[in-house]
Amino acid sequence: MKLRWLIGLLGVLALTASATLGHGDEKHVIGTLIKVNADSVVVKTADGKSVEVKLISGTAIVMRDGKAAKLSDLTTGEKVVIHAKPKGDTLEASEVRFSPVPPPVK
C-alpha cells in the first residue's frame, strides 16, 4: 500500500517535467497530376502552383469510389485529392485519391 502511494507521489511530481513536441495539421492538396515518380508526385493546383508530395510506405492510393489502387495506376493528367502531413519542409501523403482519365474516344 505504501509502495502505491510512493509511486503515485513520484508520478505526480514527475508529470510536471516536460519537453516540447511539435505537431502538424493535415493538408489537402487538390489538382492535376503533372509528375509521378516512385517516391513522390507533383500536383498542379487551381492557382497554378506546383506542389510536390512524397509517397511513403503507408500512403494509401485509392480511386474516387474508394477502391484500392496501386502507384502504377497513377498517370499524369489525372485529377487528385491528396491528404498529406507536413514533415519539415515536405509533405507526406497519407492518401492519394484520384479520378482516372477516361480513355480517348475513337
Binding site: 513536441l21 505537431h23 489537402h28
Partner: protein
Amino acid sequence: MKRNSLLLLIIVVLIGVGVAAALSILHDGLSARAKPTALEAMLAHKARHLAIPADARTMTNPIPDNAQNMEDAEMHFADHCATCHGNNGGGDTMYGKGLYPKPPDLRLPQTQELSDGEIFWIIENGVRFTGMPGFGGDDDSKQDSWKLVRLIRHFPKLSMDEQMMMEKNNPKSPDDMEEEKQENDFLNGAPAPKESEAHHHH
C-alpha cells in the same frame, strides 16, 4: 536507524525531484504538447498496472472472433475512438498529439502484451490523469468493449482496405462534410475548389 536513513533518502529524493520539476516548469511551462519523459512513462505504466484489479487481468474474451464482430468493432472504433487513437490505432492524430500523456500506439508490445482482461478493463474504466475516458456502464457496453479488444489484437495486421472502410465512419463536422463534397465533386468533373492547398484540422 536504518528506517530513519531510508526516510531521509526518500525525502531527499522527493525534494530533488520537486526542485527539478519546478525548474522545468519555470523553463518550459506545462504544455500538454510535450513528450513525457522516460521516467514519467515508466511510472505511468506502473501506476496503470496497479490501477487494474488482479481479477480483471484473468478475464477471457466471451466474444467470438468472427468477421461480423470485427466489422462491428471497426465501425465502433472509427466513430468513438479514432479521433484520438487513429483508425490504425497508432495514435498519430491531432488530438492524440495534443494529449498528455499521448495515447499509446496500440499495435506495439506496450499494449499487445496486456491481457485481454486488462485491455477490457481499461476500455470500461478509463485511465485516470490521462485523456482516456471510461466507456463502461451497462451490458451493451461490455459487449462493445470485448469486440474492441478483438480489434486491438487485430491492429498489427489491419489492412489498408479496412482502414479505408473505417475512414468512412469517422465523425465529421459540417465543414468536413462540405470539404469532402467539394473533393468528390472535383474528382467527378467539377472545377477545383478555390483553396486547392488547404490546411485541415481533422
